[in-house]
Symmetry: C2
Subunit: 553 residues, 2 copies
Amino acid sequence: MRKLVWAVSAALAVMSGTALGAKVTVLTAAKIHTLETAHPTAQAMAFDDTGRILALGDAATLGKRYPKATRLDVGNATVIPGLIDAHAHVSGLGMTMLSADLVGADDKQDVLQRLQAFAKQLPAGAWLIGRGWDQNDWPEKRFPTAADLDAAFPDRPVWLERIDGHAGWANTAAMRAVKRDLSGDWQPDGGRIERAGGKATGIFVDGAMSLVDQARPPLDEATAERALSLGMQSAVEHGLTGVHDAGVSLAELKRYQRLADRGAMPLRITAMADGNNEALESLCANGLYAHPSGRLKMRTLKLYADGALGSRGAAMLQEYSDDHGNLGLMVTSPEQIAVAVEKAKRCGVQVATHAIGDRGNHVVLEAYAKALGNDATTTDHRWRIEHAQVLSKQDLPRLAQLHVIASMQPTHATSDMPWAQDRVGAERIIGAYAWRQLRDSGARLALGSDFPVESVDPRFGLYAAATRADAQGLPAGGWFPQEKLTAFEALRGFTLDAAYAGFAENEVGSLEVGKRADFVVLTEDPLAIAPSGLRNLSVQATYVDGEAVYRAK
Amino acid sequence: MRKLVWAVSAALAVMSGTALGAKVTVLTAAKIHTLETAHPTAQAMAFDDTGRILALGDAATLGKRYPKATRLDVGNATVIPGLIDAHAHVSGLGMTMLSADLVGADDKQDVLQRLQAFAKQLPAGAWLIGRGWDQNDWPEKRFPTAADLDAAFPDRPVWLERIDGHAGWANTAAMRAVKRDLSGDWQPDGGRIERAGGKATGIFVDGAMSLVDQARPPLDEATAERALSLGMQSAVEHGLTGVHDAGVSLAELKRYQRLADRGAMPLRITAMADGNNEALESLCANGLYAHPSGRLKMRTLKLYADGALGSRGAAMLQEYSDDHGNLGLMVTSPEQIAVAVEKAKRCGVQVATHAIGDRGNHVVLEAYAKALGNDATTTDHRWRIEHAQVLSKQDLPRLAQLHVIASMQPTHATSDMPWAQDRVGAERIIGAYAWRQLRDSGARLALGSDFPVESVDPRFGLYAAATRADAQGLPAGGWFPQEKLTAFEALRGFTLDAAYAGFAENEVGSLEVGKRADFVVLTEDPLAIAPSGLRNLSVQATYVDGEAVYRAK
């Protein structure tokens, strides 16, 4: 009899569209910024135990409507939709947590000290992996060499990635592990071995990095999975409820799937297939992928057009202003890009291509325009350019014209501002990091961090977007202040517009009835404080599907 | 012989495009914000003695290029393009300086004290004119009556305009001067006489105001001209170098012309013809008007669609949320608007129509769409909606679609925010003062003040645009902060985009070679300070055509 009653109740629940039998939670806060245009703020939100939002409104009304609900009162805190990083590298972040951190090292001596401290925990003979060095921060501002490492590490291979991931620094032991003779005058496709007197110096730019990468002993599965878990955990601790992982191999997708099967995904991963390889092939053969948990999907092809600006690997239409004759590098040839893009188009796969230099961006826009044809404006393709960092005057309006999303990273602007104009000069800098011009042209901005290239912390991205200043607030008023976003626009870029870029705006990105209860509890109201305070927001808790995946101690 | 040399030199000057014989001034400043996209900042600017900009760049280069130039070094100050108020009433501002100022009066007692003080300087029997009262600022928040004035002013006519210009308050002596019997139950077209027991209370809304206005003795020409001069002088003292005067009769245009002939125009007036009347007729008969001095032009028709929100005169699609059954008022009927707009179209005249309520705006958009047809997107019509204050969800994107300019006043939002949501409710307020939504839809924003309805001071407009807060910074973070503009966008709205709305962006609005040297010298850099500081910028000097029209004492 009890069973029958329950069954009737469940049937009614299905009929009414709400699980009456389900446990409902009513959250109350000083303010909830919903990011929904028609109802921008609320004081209360109800969601069921599947994490689906049932209602938003004032506390009294929702309290009356759900009298038996669990109460979750966050007091004077502000609630915002869960933050989504539209471009990042989860495994990379995890691996940095398993490798030596060289970010912010003052000079080579500082690098060596950090490496020696880190090496103490490593087994004998294991490779020492580090990441985050930037010679622009050092007194001499020149690329380092293997010799700088060899005295301290004569036998242990050392392999250190530059902060932007576009150059690597090896010691002699690491170069010995490379099978091919690195001396001579040959260069690998899309890359450059730095040499002095025909001998490799230890610096490997872009495509040349794979020479050393391939010499490393393979990563064991347990470590790889641990890296993903560490990366995701760090993300939710910073208020992220979603990450677009910009380059996931088929093996890594399977790794994510195993975590999702075990319920071990604390946030939503929108994985992009790593180039024209197995993962794309799988999407073409088996269709776009989504895990039933709603925590993992893949429907995007990630390509690299060119390198990065810091290492002068970004492909420019004209030579670098501070390196005459250097036009940078296409990492993937225009022909290969065209082939991959056409394949994605045939398979109904979204394309997201890394393009930093104005030539890189031009090649991508040409390839997109050709592959999409009339579909550019008549279909919901949502193709993206990742970084879209330096755009020629002619190409800047083409993103909007082709309905291409600009997936940009505010902290790249503030990290690069000390030297970016040196690289490209006074004229081209006007089309660089041009958020406002892109918005004005009608393009949509999805914001992200590119972690671990930049910090995983989205507060830094919000701050950079609204101030264009460094942590000290310099330059006063911001770098090219005409390109600033308002705090609200920055927040939208990290929520609703990032969700849109991942075809997820009907599920997440704003707090609306029927969407998922992905949200962040902040001590401060990010829209009520001065933009200079955005760096110092305090994340009290992060919720995904209505469940706390992080609570501050 | 001297004459011949001069003639040759002048000929060379003409050939080289620069008056070689002309006196050149080189201005140097800590920073010049040019508002030109390609060269956003400079440290020096050269202009000739006709006020034409010759060059922008760094101080050393310009000093070398113009070795004999007059130097104008403003030290640590910042230079910005001259500010342009895209919607204001110059004569109205002047007349407020010739009438009692009731802005900010705390209550009726305060009003009476101000009137009595002002009356001391008036000849016996002269009308006492005042402006700026707002019953929303008073404890009782109800319209006042004639009786409130009669004890203090039994014989002298008193006529006091409400702060928004959409209601007037008369004493009994002023009502006696009206020929028509004001009692009964009749109402004038597009207006309302407030009555109690069939007797006029002293309050005249919108179209009813003309009953009292017409009873006033005519303004003498000297006073009218003095009002224009006072208004323009006040404008330049606040950093304005241009004003779009929103409603100028043919008589007033002639008054301006006389001032321009005498070289007595300290700034540029873009006059709009006052409705479908003589001035429009003159434009149709004689063509668009421009004074050879460059200081005066008329090529625009100004219409009024509806009233204002404060007095519930704005025409709404649904009843006022705080006045059931009241739909507001169309000041001009849809049919009359259509006739006037068609006429303007035939004559090549730009149209700018006041529309506050969502019905007012809808009627205007319909009229524009019909009159323009395909020309909406294929011609450079630049038709405008003045205020565009409350837009329905359906109509908001139509401004961009029809290439209609939104001519908006940031201080209206911050003046109206204490009561605007009471008038229109939680749903319609989302489409009100919706700067960011309009920008996102692709519409261009020209900014102004509507002085004397709001202060002539454009600093308040810049501040309101970037903060959506009152002078005390409340509410914290601003009212509907998602609609904020950045300081740069606010500045562009008061310079380049206002110039565009007046077909003047090739002459003014930014500091570029070939444009006019209209600029403002500020102690602070408005793009380097926090938005909260925009209210307190210090105007050191205002220049028009390269000549100081105002210098701070």
